[in-house]
């Protein structure tokens, strides 16, 4: 938001989120080596330096899988939306883990030759794998993408690049993930006989791909069924369903005939309808909820007053609002004409009782 807005604020929620992630990483880097040392003994035992590389490498892969699961999970079930709020911190922490893994590899496998470590990565003799693919290069390319994303994750870059360009740029995570899968499959898995490693990689791809497809197909089906139009008082309205459909503070997405998404919500004894796209980054307001009396975007917490679509003072952002009415049978009706005059438009639930 504009007026004195501080884009990145440290809140208790964010601190708890970050603390949980750090604790999870610490627990992983303690438990993984302990379990590996207990399971792989004798000729299968792993040296401490290789174990360290595997620990941070697998930790990064698990983190990347979790990051990619959050988006579709939040679209499939509202309960996962809080995981979205601080996903950028998770991404930056994942990048740090990946950098550490890369550093350990750079400092071990590529240290003792007669050429520079970095040059060694790109001229690796791959003859020892049947794939003959320079898998370290795939990892380095993925790391370059993740570093670019981490460097541009700050709100400054969102503002400088604009929400559309920024979002498309950060879809590079999919290419990064594909490169990481190639890096693991054509590298470590070529010499790894444990079914656990194969299950980890295959399960990650199936889970991430399956969730994205399920969320995408679900959204596509919803989009193909726009809410029905009805005539009332000489005008065309979109039928939104009975009042019981609307839970206090939980918006419902309603599609207008021209393809717009409107967030219809019940708050403080009235129904309100706001444009479903956040002014910040185009986030889905209909997937947010009411916090402190304002409809709050699930992506980065931008807020709008339900009645007029204006951000609470001193902020100056505004989104369109819409007129609502009750039909003869008590159905909630939405006038699909957007209003940007900042005039309050609320439909009191007392009108239904009268």
């Amino acid at each position: 938001m504009s007026h004195g807005y501080v884009p990145i604020q440290i809140t208790l929620r964010k601190l708890a989120y970050d603390a949980a992630v750090v604790l999870g990483i610490v627990a992983y880097v303690i438990i993984f080596p302990a379990v590996t040392n207990a399971v792989l003994t004798g000729p299968q035992a792993v040296t401490p330096r290789i174990l360290e590389m595997r620990t941070w490498g697998t930790c990064g892969f698990v983190l990347l899988t979790l990051i990619l699961m959050i988006g579709p999970l939040a679209r499939l079930h509202r309960g996962f939306v809080p995981l979205l709020w601080n996903r950028r911190h998770l991404g930056v922490m994942f990048t740090a883990v990946a950098v550490y893994h890369a550093f350990k590899v750079w400092d071990y496998y590529h240290r003792y030759g007669n050429i520079d470590n970095t040059q060694s990565i790109f001229t690796w003799d791959v003859a020892w794998t049947s794939s003959s693919v320079p898998f370290p290069v795939l990892g380095m390319l993925a790391l370059a993408i993740f570093l670019m994303m981490a460097a541009t994750s700050h709100d400054f870059w969102q503002a400088a690049l604009g929400p559309v360009v920024w979002k498309w740029l950060h879809m590079g995570v999919y290419l990064g993930y594909a490169l990481v899968v190639g890096h693991v499959v054509l590298g470590a898995l070529q010499r790894e006989s444990s079914p656990l490693a194969v299950t980890l990689v295959g399960g990650s791809v199936a889970l991430v791909g399956g969730l994205h497809l399920a969320a995408g197909i679900g959204g596509w089906i919803r989009d193909r069924r726009p809410d029905g139009l009805v005539s009332h008082a000489g005008r065309q309205w979109v039928a939104c369903g009975p009042v019981s459909r609307f839970e206090e503070g939980r918006p419902v997405a309603v599609s207008t005939p021209d393809g717009e998404v409107v967030a219809v919500l019940r708050h403080d004894g009235a129904l309100h309808a706001l444009h479903g796209v956040c002014a910040h980054q185009g986030g889905p307001l209909a997937e947010g909820r009411v916090i402190d009396g304002c409809l709050t975007c699930p992506w980065h917490g931008w807020q709008y007053q339900p009645a007029d679509g204006c951000s609470p003072p001193p902020f100056t952002e505004q989104i369109a609002n819409y007129e609502l009415a009750f039909g003869p049978d008590g159905t909630v009706l939405l006038d699909p004409s957007a209003h940007t005059d900042a005039a309050p438009r609320a439909l009191s639930l007392e009108a239904l009782d009268a």
């Binding site: 988006g71 679209r75 794998t129 049947s130 794939s131 929400p163 559309v164 979002k167 498309w168 879809m171 999919y174 594909a178 899968v181 190639g182 499959v185 054509l186 898995l189 070529q190 010499r191 006989s193 194969v198 990689v201 295959g202 791809v205 199936a206 991430v208 791909g209 399956g210 994205h212 497809l213 969320a215 995408g216 197909i217 959204g219 596509w220 989009d223 393809g259 998404v261 796209v277 185009g282 986030g283 889905p284």
Partner: protein, 47 residues
């Protein structure tokens, strides 16, 4: 914008998901026989 991006997400994964899984299967089938010992290194004779 959200709808367009979400459609792209779904289309990307319709291609990427099966491609990655097929790639995984191919790479596992093509890997060396892990039950056999590594061949002895070949050294060139010194002049």
């Amino acid at each position: 914008m959200i709808r367009a991006q979400r459609r792209v997400h779904a289309i990307v994964w319709m291609v990427l998901g099966p491609a990655l899984l097929l790639g995984l299967v191919w790479a596992l089938l093509a890997r060396p026989d892990l039950t056999q010992p590594d061949p002895a290194p070949v050294r060139e004779a010194s002049p």
